[in-house]
Symmetry: C2
Subunit: 119 residues, 2 copies
């Protein structure tokens, strides 16, 4: 039950597309991540996923449209919906999603993380 | 799959201790709330609860200690742990918690909210 400071946690890593677990509750994880560049197209068959922008901005691409998210914006990507985050410049993001989620869904990519680190 | 802006949502209400649902996913709710003053002592028998400070600060009291949370700090209060948020001045907070959670646990109080509003 210690407090968790987002800025301190974000200062502990600099790599992109490698979310860190900072809290867990009710079978869900809260993660922090830095995005830069294009991720891979994927979906999560059984998990909804929340993205909250802490600093910067990025574009969430869907197959038929895209949504630009700035600081203080969040979006829920429902299970089964293909998506691809794209960040022209580095962006810091909080994720809220089930603990069992796979990073790139069923897509195996050079960006796939097989075990999330806790910080 | 529209974006949700935290500032816009917070501007839609001004009352204290009355969290609004702004997103739901995986059986969980994301809520925004404004706290000022003392809440009631309570716990949630089956739900962990996350508090993230968006603006301002407050003190989370436990029976044996308290933790002061400032902007960018979060804390997870595990199920079964008695707690009481106290805010000397108004604070804006994001909550993550299971959809079925009761506001004041099993404690019935003038502050109890029986149905959360969605905004």
């Amino acid at each position: 039950m210690d407090k968790i400071n987002i800025r301190e946690k974000l200062a502990m890593f600099s790599d992109h597309w490698n979310p860190r677990i900072v809290a867990d509750l009710n079978g869900q994880h809260v993660k922090l991540a830095k995005f830069q560049g294009e991720f891979v197209w994927h979906d999560h068959a059984a998990e909804d996923e929340l993205f909250l922008v802490l600093r910067g901005s990025f574009r969430m691409e869907f197959r038929d449209r895209s949504v630009t998210l700035n600081e203080g914006d969040m979006i829920v990507v429902p299970r089964g919906v293909e998506h691809r985050p794209v960040a022209e410049q580095e962006v810091e993001v909080m994720l809220f999603e089930p603990a069992q989620i796979r990073h790139t869904g069923d897509v195996e990519s050079g960006l796939t993380v097989h075990e999330y680190q806790r910080i």
